[in-house]
């Protein structure tokens, strides 16, 4: 197997979306997730010399990110005085002191899931681009950004029934655009 090389210049471009998506499903706070992703890139930069090339860059970054997420929860929990389980372990690849680090992550996606969802992301973006600008804008605000109906109406200066007509047309168009591959 070829050795993996490390090139931090490409990190943000290649991995920031992936790491952000990984984090947001676990911490549920987009500001916090952004901070954790940034911390991960910085920590990766600092310990670049420890990168042995056994795993891909992405896997390596994710392993750093996992620890950052655990630290984040530990910080929250330490305020509550919650008990933690400390067990030392050492093995071929890693060693440490905390039991959580050894626990399998039930949210961990399999490679296939990740690939499929990435493709779905592209497909949705692609279909959104084909919609008339106004429909795409309203649908995005409503469905992806989860704005309240009232907020959208105020911002775009339309009535609620206008909004629902636009949403209906947009959803119908999206469904037929995605139909070939995703229904």
């Amino acid at each position: 197997m070829p050795k993996h090389v490390i090139d931090p210049n490409q990190w943000i471009k290649l991995y920031s979306d992936y790491l952000f998506n990984y984090t947001i499903t676990r911490v549920n706070d987009s500001e916090k997730a952004k901070d954790l992703v940034q911390d991960t890139f910085f920590a990766g930069l600092k310990s670049m010399k420890n990168f042995k090339g056994e795993a891909s860059e992405r896997t390596w970054l994710i392993s750093i990110l996992k620890r950052k997420i655990i630290d984040h929860y530990r910080k929250i929990n330490s305020n509550k005085g919650k008990a933690e389980v400390r067990i030392s372990y050492s093995g071929d690849e890693s060693e440490g002191d905390w039991l959580e680090e050894r626990v399998a992550d039930p949210f961990d996606k399999t490679a296939e899931d990740t690939l499929e969802n990435t493709e779905l992301g592209y497909a949705i973006d692609n279909c959104l681009e084909k919609l008339p600008a106004k429909q795409a804008q309203v649908l995005e605000m409503k469905t992806i950004l989860n704005y309240e109906t009232e907020a959208i109406c105020n911002e775009l200066d339309i009535t609620a029934s206008n909004l629902w007509v636009i949403i209906h047309r947009a959803r119908t168009a999206m469904a037929s655009c995605l139909e070939k591959n995703w229904f």
Partner: protein
């Protein structure tokens, strides 16, 4: 909104759209479901609409352009410090 139990396809679709955002009332949902019993076209629309909502839910989150830019800027600075 009328209080009739039988609603038109147009209204049924409207309620179906609202349901996707959890904005339909209980009474509206009852009317929609009664409509779906006898209307095949609207059953099909409801099925696709629900599926579409699911797809949107599975769409991976991505960073918006401006925070990606500021991330890149902060990272470049850190990278310059390292070298």
């Amino acid at each position: 909104m009328s209080s009739k139990i039988i609603i038109s396809c147009e209204e049924a679709n409207h309620v179906c759209d609202k349901t996707q955002y959890k904005e339909a009332t209980l009474w509206e949902k009852v009317k929609l479901n009664i409509h779906l019993i006898y209307c095949k076209a609207c059953r099909e629309y409801t099925k696709n609409n629900t599926k579409l909502s699911q797809l949107f839910k599975n769409k991976p989150a991505s960073l918006d352009a401006s925070s990606k830019e500021s991330l890149q800027a902060a990272f470049d600075k850190e990278l310059a410090n390292q070298q």
